[in-house]
């Protein structure tokens, strides 16, 4: 681990501005991948009133208490943390579905994260869409930020806005994940390329996740896609997790061939 601050633990907020780009999917899969690598990981759902993380992790039936109850003192943090059913080192702090974003403050989130730092290597914060109170709550405690975007102009504009706000909030470590890219469409000139996005957003790339219909299937089942070893998205999320852990993992040159599978095929036909 390469982090010096706060006894080696890192608080990472995953944000995007626009909704539906894959923030929660990213949080779920990257945190599972890190937990599988042996790190102690906590995920904190701050999309209060519109929670989804519990569903994607398949833990919806195990939720007893939520983050607002912890903050209001109805239960302890330990009671509210839900242990994952697959990975021993992964815990989730659920959002409250019947409350809203104004019920907690940035200071409270910060205090909660500070309490969690001693028990976890990584704490991921699933940020709600938008730039209002929920966003301010989510970024208050974080050391680093990951901005998720899709290769389309509306998501890129929102990402640019968010990066600007993170820079204003003195974030030094902001990295980009490009989610749901389709190289066949990039090649035919119908989708923004990785280069287009990086040129426009001017931040460091953390990973590129190809469009993969298996993601919908696994989301509906409440199983992280990284458990599906054959999926292109799973490999990408795994690589992202390894980069977060400090490993050097090349970002594959997707553009060489139109799809992931044809790359695999050429690999074997050599």
């Amino acid at each position: 681990m390469n982090n010096s601050e706060n006894n080696g633990s890192q608080v990472i907020v995953v944000t995007s501005g626009k909704g539906g780009v894959g923030k929660t999917t990213t949080v779920a899969n990257v945190s599972c991948a890190l937990a599988r690598m042996g790190y102690k990981v906590a995920v904190m759902d701050l999309d209060i009133g519109l929670k989804k993380l519990d569903l994607i992790l398949g833990l919806e039936n195990r939720v007893i208490y939520d983050i607002v109850q912890v903050i209001e003192g109805e239960c302890t943090l330990k009671q509210a943390l839900v242990k994952d059913k697959r990975f021993n080192h992964l815990y989730m702090l659920p959002a409250a579905q019947t409350r809203n974003k104004d019920d907690i403050t940035p200071e409270q989130v910060k205090a909660l994260c500070d309490e969690m730092r001693k028990d976890f290597h990584f704490i991921f914060i699933d940020c709600p869409a938008g730039i209002e109170q929920g966003f301010r709550n989510a970024i208050s405690a974080a050391d680093k930020a990951i901005v998720v975007t899709n290769p389309e102009v509306s998501a890129v504009r929102d990402a640019d806005r968010i990066i600007g706000m993170l820079e204003s909030a003195q974030f030094k470590d902001i990295k980009l994940i490009i989610n749901r890219i389709r190289m066949d469409m990039v090649k035919s000139g119908n989708m923004l390329s990785i280069e287009d996005l990086l040129e426009h957003l001017c931040i460091e790339l953390l990973g590129v996740v190809p469009e993969d219909k298996n993601v919908v299937v696994s989301t509906n089942k409440g199983e992280p896609i990284i458990l599906n070893e054959k999926s292109a998205a799973a490999i990408a999320f795994n690589n992202i997790a390894r980069r977060i852990a400090g490993e050097k993992v090349e970002i594959p040159d997707f553009s060489e061939n139109s799809s992931f599978w044809s790359r695999i095929k050429t690999l074997f036909s050599r």
Binding site: R157, D158, D160, R161, I163, G164, M165, E167, H200, C202
Partner: protein, 200 residues
């Protein structure tokens, strides 16, 4: 009748000889046609036309300005060149960020799509300009916009605006935008001729 000019963040109303009723009618029509341009501006009255007006008439003209949200500037020394504070920025301006200056703005970086820069005088972008810029915000028609790569959503200079044609492809050389006979023109930046124009 009355010429309106932006000088260092002030709107200077230069009264040419005329009569009070015409002044009122002219200003009311000007203000109501573009209230946003005038609201909040600092106003200075000037010109020999004022010599023929009574105190009450001047007060009435001033009240008209106040009614449209303008501020009277009783300190005309700020008309001197360079009085407005220039702003220099060493980063990219991102979507949703807004820069305002009573003088000129210089950006060492790119101006992204849907970012805004508003300046009383010139706007100089040492990078790619994709956002919205408004030079000569108070009406200074000599203001210019310069960018190493010009690809703005919109350019406004004084009270004129123009947007890029739909099939526009950015050039890979620096360009300058300026007003010529109330039309915004963009052309390749050539130091000699542009400096001559700026000094005029």
């Amino acid at each position: 009748m009355i010429s309106i000019k932006g000088i260092n963040g002030n709107l200077v109303f230069n009264f040419l000889p005329g009569n009070f009723e015409d002044y009122i009618r002219f200003l009311t029509q000007k203000f109501s046609s573009n209230p946003r341009l005038f609201a909040g501006s600092k106003v200075v009255f000037r010109g020999e036309g004022l010599n023929f007006l009574s105190h009450e008439e001047i007060a009435a003209l001033q009240k008209l300005c106040l009614d449209y949200g303008m501020v009277l500037n009783n300190n005309p020394s700020s008309l001197e060149k360079g009085a407005g504070q220039d702003v220099i920025i060493y980063r990219n301006i991102r979507s949703g960020q807004k820069i305002f200056s009573e003088g000129s703005v210089i950006v060492w970086g790119n101006v992204h799509e849907s970012a805004e820069i508003i300046a009383a005088r010139d706007i100089i972008i040492l990078g790619k300009l994709e956002g919205i810029v408004h030079a000569g915000f108070y009406g200074d028609k000599n203001s210019i916009v310069f960018a190493l790569q010009m690809a703005p959503g919109q350019i406004r200079i004084a009270d004129k605006f123009s947007r890029a044609p739909a099939d526009y492809t950015p050039k890979d050389y620096p360009e300058i935008a300026y007003l010529e006979e109330d039309t915004i023109c963009i052309k390749r930046y050539v130091p000699q001729e542009n400096l001559a124009r700026l000094n005029s």
